[in-house]
Amino acid sequence: MKIAVCAKYVPESTAARRIDPETKRLDRSGEGALNPFDVNAVEEALRLKEAGGDGEVVIVSLGPERALEAMRRALAMGADRIVLVADEAAAGSDLVATSRVLAAALERESPDLVLFGQQANDADGAVLWAAVAERLQRPLISQVAELSLEDAKVRGKRQTEYGYDVIDAPLPAVVAVSDAINEPRYPSLKGIMGAKKKPQETVSLADLGVGAEEAGEAGSRTTVEALNDPPPRGDTVKLEDDGSAAEKILEFLQERKAL
């Protein structure tokens, strides 16, 4: 059974994140790491592979060349291969363009199951899985907190605003897991040492049959027009309780239509 995990290379420490005033997008020139939410997806893939007895877990990612180092963490955990789409022309891709490139990379692999993590912690990505499932023309289960594999189908417990749905999807399928699904393993020493030796492939858009105009800004359908300061919060209204604090709070909430 072949499981592909779509992983994202995200800028590292939250404290140092900046928006590039030129491109008006997140400055990704600094160091990055494997998106922590995708680590849950890697873990789930490894569990399914181990439960099944054999199989292959491939990490598929779209990012710069240096993303390989960060993705190696997945290899250290036990994944078998990395396929990284590293192409300058793909930089600045929005949802439409990114999903197109990823879908092409996934088609090439033809996995039985594609896994995504809950979200990208750089707040730049959301619901990529739905766009990719659409392009692959495969059934989708998202927000999965529990996943099981039976015969040729997956069953997922999907977390919604109203509680849990249970949804079945025949393979090949796309599943997006929530961070509640598992506690990712720590790589073992042998795993860390063996990671470098595992196959790590870098492909270009051309290798995937995707034209430069279909990716990057050219392939995107949304723009960032301007960056502004956040609307001012306004000054803090500070008061000391003289016995009437509760009333004053109520008044404040009413004024601001918070009730």
Partner: protein, 320 residues
């Protein structure tokens, strides 16, 4: 501008957020239409008219009975292939986010998400969204049509405008793969109240609460306000409340409309988890607590006195 608003419904009621979107679209001028998909949903169409929709497109089909995203993509494609809309608006939810993103791929149409406002500037639709944990706001646009927009839950309030909508039934063409996923069990309304990620109101407590027994105060206020209870790292570390309610750098990030911080000092590790809340009210007996630097209303006082009183007042106000 011709808007199409996706109407989400659950157990016989239209979602408040969808209605809010109708009102917003109406306020932007232009034609506001809505789309309603499901099984045995025809009666809901009339509601939409009250909030500003002039026409509601309905596909009442047993294949749309369960809240699964993929058949709805087919339905929307069918409709959009037939009718030209400038923009399709979705109020974000687990379901609608999947629909909107797949639709974007299906139509090769741009999707802007996590929007906190919409405007028409120079005749063009502009979306507004926070970025980098609220430290910057971006104006976003589209280079294709229809313009797909996913708006953050709880952003727009529904305003009844009176009026009625024409109901226009249509029949979707479904793809095989869209119908492959099947719902074995469907979720029902949670009885415990909203989770902190979905809640519009959160009452959060920190070490200033004094001890786990005092959480009763917090729960009562949360109930009165119709919200969820959250906790700081220190409180969870001390075992007073479960980790699932932890807000902060190593817990969850929330952005409710109202965040009431009780006995919380507000160090940055906590702040980054709730700083984009609509309104922040802080109650703390330490006048130098950092939270007073970014709260909208800061009250220096004893939470043991203030919180129960506030709970009573809120209950009374809501009953009136």
């Amino acid at each position: 501008m011709r808007f199409l608003v996706f109407l989400e419904h659950h157990e016989g009621r239209l979602q408040k957020d969808s209605l809010g979107l109708l009102s917003k679209a109406a306020s932007l001028g232009g034609e506001v239409e809505a789309v309603l998909l499901g099984s045995e949903v025809n009666e809901l169409a009339a509601e939409a008219g009250k909030y500003g929709a002039t026409k509601v497109w309905v596909d009442d089909d047993v294949l749309l009975d369960k809240p699964l995203s993929q058949p709805r993509v087919d339905a929307l494609e069918t409709l959009l292939g037939d009718q030209e809309f400038d923009a399709v608006l979705f109020a974000a939810s687990v379901l609608s986010a999947d629909i909107a993103a797949a639709l974007a791929a299906r139509l090769d149409a741009g999707l802007n998400y996590d929007l906190t406002d919409l405007a028409v500037e120079d005749g063009k639709l502009v979306g507004k969204r926070p970025a980098l944990g609220d430290s910057v706001y971006a104006d976003v646009g589209w280079t294709s049509e229809p313009r797909l927009a996913l708006i953050r839950s709880g952003t727009f309030e529904p305003k009844e405008a009176g009026g009625s909508a024409e109901v226009a039934p249509f029949e979707s063409r479904f793809q095989d793969f869209s119908l492959a996923a099947t719902m074995v069990e469907q979720a029902h309304e949670e009885s415990q109240g909203p989770s902190i990620e979905d809640a519009d109101v959160i009452v959060a407590a920190g070490r200033g609460l004094g001890g786990p027994d005092n959480f009763g105060l917090v729960e009562e206020l949360a109930k009165a306000l119709g919200g969820a209870v959250a906790a700081t790292r220190a409180v969870v570390d001390a075992g007073w409340y479960p980790y699932s309610t932890q807000v902060g750098q190593t817990g969850k990030t929330v952005s409710p409309k109202l965040y009431v911080a009780v006995g919380i000092s507000g160090a940055i590790q906590h702040k980054v988890g709730m700083q984009s809340s609509g309104l922040i009210v802080a109650i703390n007996k330490d006048p130098n607590a950092p939270i007073f630097e970014y709260a909208d209303l800061g009250v220096v006082g004893d939470l043991n006195e203030i919180v129960p009183k506030l709970t009573e007042l809120v209950r009374a106000r809501k009953a009136a």
